[in-house]
Amino acid sequence: MTNIGIYHYLLLGTVIFLIGLFGVVISKELIRILLALEIMISGVCINFVSVGTLCDGLKFDGVVFAVFITIISFIQTAIFIAIIINIFKHKKINDIEKLGELKG
């Protein structure tokens, strides 16, 4: 059986990041965009944790980075949800294509 090395985990993280990026670009609903962003962040965290765990001399750096990223993403999600709620309250819109007031 082939040895599973760091490159497999980096590939997994990259694939998950690309799926999230695809979701952000394609999605029209705000909540779906939020979830796609979280998927991208998960992909990045997987890369950090795998490098931190599987590379010698970087024992806790990757995990610490991932913890910081997770906490910041949690704050970002809370702000995003607050924005979604306000948009829904005032405009009754869930579709990002209909939000064009700031367009030049």
């Binding site: 909540i31 979830l35 998927i39 965290c45 944790v49 997770t70 999600t77 949800i81």
Partner: protein, 172 residues
């Protein structure tokens, strides 16, 4: 599972896929021996998903004026229960892979284990080598199959209910 989140049309389907996906990511972190990160990931995202469910429920109730069908209580509780059971199983597997080390310390010599403990020791090696590599794939595969079968069953039930309602209306 990440792709399913983006593709599934209904709100509760998307949320269920999210629970399973982020549970799987937490399992991967447990496999990397990062217990703290795994628990942080798990609780933050499950908390976030429950918040989204409550917001979606209240928003839909306000707009439509009635309780939304998309957030069927039975499905919500079954999805959360399934996610909790999956995570508990993964934690048990992780603990199971750790047990033989402690037993070895207690009993002194791994080669003198009784047959059951020898099985545990072999399973420990297998889990340590392969769980980290393939565990996430297996869990994702199982969760996709289970999620899809739950969704198909729910859709069939809804279709049957709609057919029955239409037939009753036609008879009237």
């Amino acid at each position: 599972m990440a792709f399913l989140i983006l593709v599934l049309p209904k709100f509760y389907q998307m949320i269920t896929a999210s629970i399973l996906f982020f549970g799987g990511i937490s399992v991967l972190y447990f496999g990397f021996n990062s217990l703290f990160l795994g628990f942080v990931q798990l609780f933050i995202y499950i908390f976030g998903i429950i918040s989204l469910l409550i917001i979606g429920y209240r928003a839909t109730k306000k707009i439509e004026g009635k309780k939304p069908r998309i957030l069927d209580k039975k499905f919500f509780f079954s999805a959360v229960t399934f996610a909790v059971i999956l995570i508990l199983i993964c934690l048990l597997v992780y603990y199971f892979s750790k047990v033989p080390d402690e037993l070895g310390t207690l009993l002194g010599n791994k080669n003198e284990y009784p047959r059951l403990i020898t099985f545990f020791a072999t399973a420990e090696t297998l889990f340590r080598e392969y769980f980290l590599a393939y565990g996430l794939v297996i869990i994702a595969f199982i969760s996709v199959l289970t999620g899809v079968s739950i969704l198909i069953a729910k859709e069939k039930k809804l279709i049957n209910n709609n057919k029955t309602t239409e037939e009753e209306k036609a008879n009237d």
